[in-house]
């Protein structure tokens, strides 16, 4: 979002609809979020009640969570490690590139950005297909580093685009002043550019985390044993067979959704920034 659109939005910040609209909005929200309510409701039911889940969790039970944590606890940790690893790796790769694309005069910068846009059109299954054979040769199947590298295919292009869009607005004078003071490119980048880009950085990190955490395709194709199994795949193997204990399946789904819910509550403005950037992407 450019400064002008932000300003325009702010100027218009007066309330037009009344509480009637609020009531309608709540109804719409209730309908759209019903599946998420249902996920929570089923997860809190006593296990074994496969027939006709009650509409409300009157008979509160945490058995589902106990089972889920017992069976999927390790997978949750795997997901967490992979997602955090992907955040660190993606930012390490994407931040300097975003800066170079925003501030250096590079001849093939346009071509590289074009390549990033094109990369968004490549189906994940095509990447998985090729990576499986390559990973097989390199011994990267069933490994955390293998998943971190593959999962970053979502985070890196996104992070480059969103952070570049921010860094392009850093005034050249700021960078030149730092250079006059004798700082090299790297020093300028680390001590001036990165702190200035804090917000864009947080947004990029949040979304890279969510992308990797939610990854299913690479978990499905690039792991073949139970050694390294992200929770998304754990959930898939649950529902791949006949389910007779939905409360623990839904407890797992809730646990897998917690990062998204927490981030939406805690870091709402960064989430909003990232969603808007989705269009530029």
């Amino acid at each position: 979002m450019t400064p002008t659109t932000l300003g325009a939005a702010r100027r218009r910040r007066h309330t037009r609809g009344g509480w009637g609209s609020t009531a309608a909005g709540i109804v719409i929200l209730a309908v759209l979020l019903f599946p998420i309510y249902w996920m929570v409701n089923v997860s809190l039911q006593p296990s074994g009640s496969a027939v006709g889940t009650p509409w409300l969790p009157f008979d509160l039970s945490f058995d589902g969570y106990a089972t889920a944590l017992g069976q999927q606890g390790r997978n949750l940790v795997t997901s967490l490690v992979v997602a955090l690893g992907s955040v660190v790796f993606s930012l390490l790769i994407a931040m300097p590139a975003a800066f170079a694309l925003a501030q250096f005069k590079i001849r093939f910068a346009g071509a590289f950005l074009f390549g990033i846009l094109i990369s968004q059109m490549i189906p994940g299954i095509v990447i998985a297909n090729a990576l499986y054979t390559a990973y097989n040769d390199l011994g990267l199947l069933n490994s955390i580093p293998g998943l971190i590298l593959a999962d970053s295919t979502a985070g890196i292009p996104f992070a480059i685009l969103i952070v570049r869009a921010f860094m392009i607005n850093i005034p050249r004078a700021v960078l030149e002043a730092s250079r006059v003071d004798g700082a090299g490119h790297v020093r300028t980048f680390v001590s001036i550019v990165l702190p200035m880009s804090r917000n864009a950085l947080i947004t990029a990190a949040l979304f890279t985390f969510l992308f990797s955490w939610a990854d299913f395709l690479f978990a499905l194709t690039l792991t073949t044993t139970e050694d390294v199994r992200p929770v998304t795949l754990g959930l898939y193997t649950y529902i791949g067979t006949y389910v007779n204990d939905w409360s623990s399946v839904m407890a797992t789904a809730v646990l897998a959704s917690i990062p998204a819910i927490v981030l939406l509550v805690v870091a709402q403005r960064y989430v909003a920034a990232g969603t808007t950037a989705g269009a530029v992407k």
């Binding site: 609020t22 300097p96 299954i125 090729a130 054979t133 909003a272």
Partner: protein, 311 residues
């Protein structure tokens, strides 16, 4: 080196070292990203292209041999009875999902433009379905759509509609519809957010002027909102197509492409060939067909994107 260059900086030697420094910095800053993009996007495209001409199966992993078969993979994939079905399903899935997401997303964006108490909070909560892992929402939808005990069928029976408990995920005539409905649900937040952003950029004065000229609600939409929103609309639609055409998670979680290929798309069939039948050559061929379709839309996307940037 020209005279003008010399005059702008201290001297030739300094200029030289600065130039070297800058070049080194450029390489240092950009090289990791370029290498990554080549390895994780460039290589797979090339590899897939080559694999599609090979008999690449489980034995390849032991013997290392993948004999050239020319266009055999393509002809086998295209002549398979599943191909026509998967192609049609891909078109229906994409068109159905996009139409639903867009219409509902636009309606909600117009609704939230009214700025009522709590509108900001409600609007950000609507993002939830988009942020939680697709496999988690897939799992809960699977239970909601369950034939015998699912919440949807219980609700429908309770209000007296469809009391025969339709098998949303198990009937060949309903599976694709169910998968599309869930994918619409997944895509609404994205459409809402982008279209809402587009609506916010339309100057309020234009609506006031139109109202003064006596334009009604529909006319304001037709002559003010729609023309000014069009660049954003084309971005949303084309991005929607590009993303929807390769959807895998939702379908695998809900139906696995079944029953009897009723919800099989090109993307899921490509997965099926490579990772369930272990015929990577055929999977690659189908993947390449998917890329070709995406590329056609990529051209639309870039044109739409440029137009959106220009305006």
């Amino acid at each position: 080196m020209t005279v003008a260059d010399d005059r702008t900086v201290a001297g030739p030697r300094f200029w030289h070292s600065l130039r070297f420094q800058t070049r080194a910095a450029q390489v240092l800053f950009l090289a990791p990203a370029v290498i990554y993009m080549v390895a994780f996007f460039g290589y797979p495209i090339v590899k897939n292209f080559v694999m599609a001409f090979q008999e690449y199966s489980t034995s390849t992993f032991y013997t290392g041999e993948a004999p050239w078969v020319g266009l055999a993979n393509y002809s086998e994939v295209v002549s398979s009875p599943v191909f026509g079905k998967a192609m049609l399903n891909t078109v229906l899935f994409t068109a159905g999902s996009i139409a639903g997401q867009f219409v509902i997303g636009l309606a909600l964006a117009m609704f939230f433009r009214r700025r009522f108490p709590l509108s900001g909070v409600l609007r950000s909560l609507i993002l939830l379905p988009w942020l939680i892992p697709l496999i988690a929402s897939g799992a809960v939808w699977r239970w909601i759509l369950d034939k015998d005990n699912g919440a949807l069928n219980r609700f429908l029976a309770a209000i007296g509609v469809a009391s025969d408990h339709p098998g949303w995920l198990t009937s060949t005539s309903l599976a694709l519809v169910a998968v599309i409905l869930v994918n619409i649900w997944v895509g609404i937040p994205f459409n809402l957010t982008i279209l809402y952003g587009g609506l916010q950029d339309i100057p309020e004065d234009l609506y006031e002027a139109a109202a003064l000229d006596g334009a009604g609600g529909w006319q304001r939409f037709r002559y003010v909102t729609w023309p000014l929103l069009r660049p954003v609309v084309s971005v949303v639609l084309v991005l929607g197509v590009v993303y929807t055409i390769k959807v895998l998670d939702v379908i695998l979680a809900l139906t696995g492409g079944g029953p009897a290929n009723a919800s099989q798309t090109i993307a899921t069939q490509s997965y099926h060939l490579s990772f369930q039948q272990f015929d990577f050559g055929q999977g690659a061929a189908l993947g390449n067909i998917l890329i070709a379709i995406s590329l056609v839309f990529a051209i639309f996307y870039l044109r739409a994107n440029r137009r959106a940037v220009d305006e």
